[in-house]
């Protein structure tokens, strides 16, 4: 099975390593036609304004929307979560806008407020998960179809709506592959 990682800008390399570590083939996606070969897509962390502009300029925005409508599973981390959100507080930046959530950018603060935290995710059992938050967003509001999977400081940081998964933090910067395993099972069942 092949899963794509959007490789326009950001930490796509780490997601590829994570997927390969889970026994899945990872493909870097920079052009629309490359999406035809993958069963799922990860939109990595990076700068959401940069990735959004490049997605439009190089014809990926519409193609990704169509594929997700056709049930392709997609997972967005940090910037990826911002790009998937229907509403971004105080911003009109380009986005896919396909998940029924309201996100706030840099919501925990600037870099000096960036942090690591241990949290429990009921879905993944009792063992805590180390999460790395870097100028991270959080979900301010989630629609009815959105399943909230975890909170940190009482803010939503993992959520799922059908074939769309988002995290406000970066599991790809740790050794814990439970979120990637979870996403891979979403891709398999899509």
């Amino acid at each position: 099975m092949k899963i794509g990682v959007l490789a326009l800008q950001g930490a796509f390399r780490e997601h590829c390593w994570m997927l390969e570590g889970c026994g899945v083939t990872a493909a870097e996606i920079r052009k629309p036609e490359e999406l035809d070969e993958v069963k799922g897509l990860i939109i990595p962390g990076g700068e959401s304004t940069t990735i959004g502009k490049l997605m439009i300029e190089w014809g990926l925005m519409d193609k990704i929307k169509v594929r997700v409508e056709q049930k392709m599973a997609v997972y967005g981390t940090c910037a990826g979560m911002i790009l998937l959100a229907k509403e971004i507080k105080d911003s009109s930046q380009p986005r896919l806008g396909i998940m029924d959530i309201v996100v706030r950018r840099n919501a925990f603060g600037r870099q000096r407020e960036s942090f690591e935290a241990d949290m429990t995710v009921p879905e993944f059992g009792p063992e805590s998960l180390k999460a790395v938050f870097i100028r991270a967003p959080y979900i301010e509001e989630a629609g009815q179809d959105v399943k909230v999977m975890a909170k940190v400081h009482n803010k939503i940081v993992i959520a799922r709506q059908n074939n769309i998964l988002v995290t406000a933090f970066h599991p790809e910067l740790t050794k814990d592959d439970r979120i990637h395993q979870y996403f891979i099972s979403m891709v398999k069942n899509a």
Binding site: T49, W58, Q111, R135
Partner: protein, 293 residues
């Protein structure tokens, strides 16, 4: 909850990968850079080409300039401090800047020592011409490395020399048997543990960007091919004829560095590039890359 950990510091650099960080001197320029797709901006009083032309002592920017730029954009904002000037760095950190560049572009404030960067919550990026220099900076706490190149020249040759040197030393190290590693570490004056880590990883333990002389999309793509993780553009954008178009083109070139057809397309009709300087015409004492120890 832990803040200011090395993972968090190096993590922001990981997020900047594959992107372009642009020098800006005004909020207007910062907005142009953000609009063009920059993944971060470097807030400065003057771009390196103007610092070079002005001569004298180049100091950190007025906090007002930095704060106004932070106000203008949502992307990360970096600022430069003088080598060894830890009080300057404390001032910059207190402003809430996202990254500090302990930079040879400014006049060094200490002729022997760099800043102890472990003492800060804000991450640091430092320049390096070779593996030893890169690992000494990482040993001092730098969470990101960049080539030094020769800033403000619009001439990529020195940045090429520096990334080639780092990559070739890494390849050399990987081929050494373990018993020869400590002598290698001694020769390049780098901490042994970091040398061992590089040998294991086959790369630097932190992100390594290109900087110092990048003026065209082709320059950016060349540096990516040679193994850089992303690009700093100093004078190259706002000293050119059409900053908006050139900035966008350099952003695209950093993503599509492996596609000559796309590079040809985005390199068309960019207007005048910045005026370049041949390195051999720069007097030894004016070479910024020789600053830092």
């Amino acid at each position: 909850m832990q803040q200011g950990t090395f993972r968090v510091k190096a993590g922001l650099a990981e997020m900047l990968k594959g992107g372009v960080i642009m020098d800006v001197t005004t909020p207007e320029q910062a907005k142009i850079a953000e609009e063009a797709g920059a993944c971060a901006v470097m807030a400065l009083e003057r771009v390196p080409a103007d610092i070079r032309a002005a001569g004298g002592v180049a100091r950190m920017a007025d906090p007002t300039i930095i704060l106004n730029i932070m106000e203008a954009v949502t992307i990360p904002v970096m600022a430069k401090g003088r080598i060894g000037h830890f009080v300057g760095a404390q001032i910059i950190e207190s402003l809430g800047v996202d990254y500090i560049d302990e930079s040879e572009v400014l006049t060094p404030a200490d002729d022997k020592y760099h800043i102890d960067k472990h003492q800060f919550k804000v991450p640091f990026v430092c320049g390096a011409k070779n593996l030893g220099e890169a690992l000494r900076r990482i040993g001092e706490g730098a969470a990101m490395i960049r080539t030094k190149g020769e800033p403000g020249t619009g001439n990529v040759v020195e940045a090429v020399k520096h990334i080639r040197m780092v990559m070739s030393e890494i390849r050399q190290l990987q081929n050494l048997p373990n018993e020869e590693v400590s002598a290698f570490a001694k020769n390049i004056a780098a901490p042994l543990e970091l040398v061992m880590e590089v040998k294991k990883l086959g790369r630097l333990p932190v992100v390594n960007f290109a900087a110092g002389g990048i003026a065209t999309p082709a320059d950016a793509a060349l540096m990516m091919h040679l193994g850089c993780d992303g690009i700093f553009v100093g004078s190259g954008v706002f000293k050119s004829g059409d900053p908006v178009k050139r900035a966008k083109a350099i952003v695209a070139a950093t993503t599509y560095y492996n596609d000559p057809k796309i590079l040809a397309e985005i390199s068309r009709d960019l207007g005048e590039a910045m005026v370049g300087i041949e390195i051999s015409t720069i007097a030894d004492h004016e070479r910024m890359q020789d600053r830092g120890w």
